[in-house]
Symmetry: D2
Subunit: 435 residues, 4 copies
């Protein structure tokens, strides 16, 4: 069996009672000058959708994948790919993302693993042609295998660094071959368990050297996709070097990599870092480095990454507000880095999860577009900073005034500023009105 056991999901509108229909996501509806499909560039994560088992630290896998024979054969990998593309078609998802070891088996030697990857990539290439689905980004899995237990590019062991170099080279080539619009470096083991045995500066130097080599190789092979790094504060390590957007930007600036990398921001990583998603998105956007989004959400008050489907309207509205400020994605997209709950066993649950995420994103877009169009929020913000257009105010920002001149003016004019209300409650009510 190699197709997904349901009919293609169609848009039926908000009043539909059909749980297997879109109520809000209408791919070709034009919102603020673009189709919904273009705003979102939805991606499906191969690792969760096809390889997620429901295993957790206290229990083995539970998922029911009738199409999977459980083997590490090429044939099984290729069959899985077919089921996946069928899933993409049935859910109207245009893009996908993968790790090398998700789509093809890890073999006894790197050469054999590379060969397996080539064979499976042939199937992906065919399936892309057949279906028109596209690769949003690829990546290498450099965290599951024991060799990476103490880091990949930041391993104390130089041979591990070399090994991951060879692996990433291949993963970039495959991504390039499949027309990938980006390539992500998620540093699953790039961090430390404890500083007690770690030379953090050295490890970051190594990571930077590694990324510079990747930049060089990208040029060499003519791959023009965007490179991304992905913030996450911890898990599996105690501290991940790419801990949040600011830490990533600091690293990229320090090592002269900011021209070559953007950020792939994930909701549940943002919240584990103690930030809101909109904070991380805005931090990236303000630095010109917002690249792509790993869309999911966490369980409140839970201290690990739960990767749930994004079903919170506030989250999707705030996300879309930032994305609309940016004018939408260029190479990036909104990849559902989301998995079923361990107790959700049926293939149909995968459909419900993605429908829920897509509809919630669509409602977020509609709300954000209306808020942007009416200008409710942006007008309030503009008004709040309006005083900076006064010549003396502007002069201070331009570096045309010294503290001495400013102090003299404060005294001369008897400046004693009276605050004006920030009106947060009023503005929050405006947002709620659009939901």
């Amino acid at each position: 069996m190699n197709t997904f056991p349901c009919e293609p999901v169609k848009y039926e509108g908000p009043d539909s009672r059909n749980p297997l229909a879109f109520k809000h996501y209408k791919a070709d509806e034009i919102i603020a000058g673009k189709s919904m499909a273009d705003w979102f560039r939805f991606g499906c994560a191969y690792w969760h959708t096809m390889r997620g088992t429901g295993a957790d630290p206290f229990g083995v896998g539970t998922a029911d994948h009738p199409w999977d024979d459980g083997s590490d054969s090429i044939a099984n990998a290729q069959n899985r790919a077919r089921v996946f593309f069928d899933f993409l078609q049935k859910t109207q998802i245009d893009y996908y993302c993968f790790h090398d070891r998700d789509i093809a088996p890890e073999c006894a030697t790197l050469a054999e693993s590379n060969k397996a990857l080539d064979q499976v990539a042939d199937t992906f290439e065919e399936l892309q042609k057949e279906t028109g689905k596209k690769l949003l980004w690829g990546t290498a899995c450099a965290f599951v295998h024991p060799r990476y237990q103490q880091g990949a590019a930041t391993s104390p062991n130089a041979n591990v660094f070399a090994y991951v170099g060879a692996q990433v080279k291949k993963a970039m080539e495959i991504t390039h071959r499949l027309g990938g619009e980006g390539y992500v470096f998620w540093g699953g083991r790039e961090g430390y368990a404890s500083l007690i045995n770690t030379d953090m500066k050295r490890e970051l130097d190594h990571l930077a050297a590694f990324l510079h080599m990747a930049v060089d190789y990208k040029k060499e092979i003519g791959f023009t996709g965007q490179f991304y790094i992905e913030p996450k504060p911890q898990e599996p390590t105690t501290h991940q070097y790419d801990s949040d957007a600011a830490a990533c930007l600091n690293f990229l600036r320090q090592y002269d990599l900011l021209d070559h990398f953007k950020l792939n921001i994930e909701t549940n990583h943002a919240t584990l870092a103690g930030h809101t998603m909109e904070h991380e998105l805005t931090t990236a956007l303000d630095a010109g480095a917002l690249g792509s989004i790993d869309a999911n959400m966490g369980t409140p008050n839970v201290g690990w990454d739960t990767d749930q489907f994004p079903t919170d309207l506030y989250l999707t509205t705030n996300t879309m507000l930032v994305l609309m400020k940016m004018g939408g994605f260029t190479t990036g997209g909104l990849n559902f880095d989301a998995k079923l709950r361990r107790q959700s066993l049926d293939a149909a649950d995968l459909i419900h999860g993605h429908i829920g995420g897509m509809d919630t994103c669509a409602r977020g877009l509609l709300a954000a577009a209306e808020l942007m169009e009416k200008g409710d929020l942006s007008d309030a913000v503009a008004k709040r900073y309006a005083g900076w257009q006064a010549p003396e105010a502007a002069a201070m920002l331009k570096g045309e005034r010294t503290l001495e001149e400013i102090a003299a003016r404060v005294e001369r004019e008897g400046i004693d500023p009276r605050p004006v209300s920030g009106r947060q409650e009023y503005l929050e009510n405006l947002v709620n009105r659009r939901l």
Copy 2:
């Protein structure tokens, strides 16, 4: 009454049962080539020690300060200063730190406040001469007054920016006059309550413009003390722009300020940001930006800044390990940004708090020095990375190898790295042995 109600605290050694004696801190004992006093350059925080009341969000102040008449008079401010220097003498603390509005009253106009500050500074100058005590750093309080409720240098209101410019100018002058070895910018209100009404990029641009003006003014007046910014993730704002060491460094790099600022790292701010103190210290040190330390600690599992005295031996040992790697402070010091619990009411409690902090720091230094001398930890770390001295390994880091060459070598040599134990438990046992 204007002296502190106890005898000077003396070193009596580990076996002393006298709670008002040092058991471990011996100012002139030479450890690893420096006196304890020089390693620590202990500072006392005027705001906590003299102005702390014990008020919290649910209750008014409780502290008993018999020397304080409760008025905003200059005379009271000057008397408080005398009590404070008496306290410094009795506790063998060599340095102190202040906010402008701690030491002198806020008056009806800025001009009057400045005048009051001048008068009180006269007293401080005299007391410094009398006692030999020194100013570690000064700063301006730009967070208590309602005018700063929406930020100081990041306020939406240009007049607030001007006002704080005038205030900081004066605070820098006073710090300079008192021979301050540094000046701290703690952005108490530099952050946001909500992104809904905030233009974060604009506010950070403002902050950078402000700091550049401060750098210019520093040169103008010939102040050669070190500038610091101080990371804290939140409180009082929802998000502080200087949220952690990495965020501060990112900001300083982005706005070309890294040559002019170092970081003042505070323990309880580190832990509220989800980091360990040694992580934040190491991040700053690795960037050449570790300047000074606000020594305290938090209550585990409590979500706000409790500013307790640092009485945890693991904390002080780890702190001193980083400080010894740096070779000790230059302009910075170890300022007790620590306050009594609200239920600790007596003047004697202030002494106990500082003794506890100083003795715990001294034990941390002794343990760190022994660990450094024996090389237990550093040898283990060096051994862990030893493989990088091999020519091919070193070549990868120097940018002399491409991914292609590396991949070819991996295949040629059949590289398949086997991990070596990280030995964390063994190393942790070594640390415990020194405590």
Copy 3:
């Protein structure tokens, strides 16, 4: 001036653009057999609305209360009361709640404080008659004054216990006189700063003795209102004895108080305890102890109580789902224990805050009612547990089967259960459809 500076807020429906109108809250609309007003029994918190200043640990108050002369006079207290009842009328809020020291000044002696309270209570009594507004619950403030710094009923000092006994006696009498439908014990200082100086068992014994005396006195004066205790995990203490619903219930059971107390559940306290609001509500409901609700919400990822207005539709929907299962309040209500952000300065902001909270509650009620009516969720839950109706299953629960018999049956019948999907994603989509 003694009225609130706006027109009464009216219902104008979802399409209204008037920020000072209700879009969803229509007091007399019948939902599932009750008016909205009856479902909510909205209360306004005197402490926040009239006495909140915006002060925080880093800054003084900012609120603009033009009606308040800043004095501790009876006249000012009475005038404030008039403004408050005007506010209740203008916002269509039927109930209010107070602490004794909010509404009347703390004086030099308890006798004088009691007298002041009597005088102000006269005014409240008149205003209740005039306006028809009612007292949801009263309480005593036993946390602000320094005497309570180490606890009130749990203070180590027996005289503090006596003092708070006298104060609570009076507060109960005033609550009774004003027809209060309940009385809350919020143990602001009932907890510990550190176990190092605390006899927790003794303190809990004291608290129980205290509450038993209150129960006795309630009977004595014929007060038939409901007693409540209110869970909160920490703040201002490091650990509050009433830390969450389960801890409160454990205490009430242990000391034989469960017949006399219900719980007043507050959202931001629930989340600070690491729980969801619906968890705490359900825990209380399942124990027959859900009494009243302090409606607010926190800022995600912030470690202290922010007491924001409840503007999250998921929160209010989940809250109303539990409340509908209970059949609505009896003595309790939905009290807005919510305050303006420190930057929200205008009297109008108070109106916006309450409108936002009331409209969001109304939408939560409408969504919950629809979910209940359609039975989407309850059917799924019922189906999930349906197997327990089988005779053998029911017998196990009734204690009619031993482990031995069960084990024999498992072997005999070859029981090897296959899981069925929990369908969480599907159910979450159903909830979203109603919002």
Copy 4:
């Protein structure tokens, strides 16, 4: 190969530099009237020591267990047991703990699993006789297998309830046969993923019914060991029903189980619940329900259970202070529910981990004993509550005074209590002096 590759660990005293020696743990040293071995009754966790692989949510196992052939055979299970007892002997650990499925394989049917368990238990019985090692407690693993994914005794599926009944019956029998001094119920899956599909009240009713059956069966087979439940707030579920000590006690009281169960308190569970270990221990002790300890600790600021060896002197000192107040364990012990870091690969690391834990516990005992003997802390606490011995104070606690009488006395005597310092800093210094 079936012995552990090192020499038995011996006590060599604090000055030893031998990493494979005890520096502080001397089994037969008498402290406060008992040998160290009797104070601790150290236990080793079979699951971590023998079955821990180092797998985490992002990577496969890494541990090197040369004695394990990787098969599910009985012979392998028996061989593992021999290695384990050798480990116990080499580390001077007197007790051990197991789950049924750790020591013997899960087979195709329950009957076969039971048979396998019997066979392996024969080996354990022999090894106990040979070595004198004893079983601290046994338990059933009711969380790894997919059948338990939605709960075991709280599963919505009645057949799962039956199945776990049969499994627990057998695990109790085996525990009884091996002379276990206790039996633990850790509800790995007893909680919920989401309330949306959960009837919490029903599930708790089921759990109580289940535990009552276990109590009955215990009597039936004459097992006199102690039953324990084990608090943990979350992980793997979103909310575990046994979330903390108070929640467990509330449950036990509600369902009339408190006579039959004590608590097994684990450090890392306490901290994940937002409590300190000493809080949870004290809560249990005060309820007469402190049974046993799962000794480990977490990584600060990490949101999941890391189960590290307890190497923090403050933790072990505070733990031993509570344990000494209790007079030591009766049936319980101090079981190292602790595992190696994923990067610690060598068999020797297992030795280092346990030595570190045991030595840190020994130092905690020595410090606690000295603190108890000198009475520093207890005197301060006693003094703090001394006022309660006054007749009027005592009368209030005994229920001999009404609020009315108390209020009259407050007025009559003009009671206006002045606080006395809580002296937390002073007391914390005393503790540090003993470390």
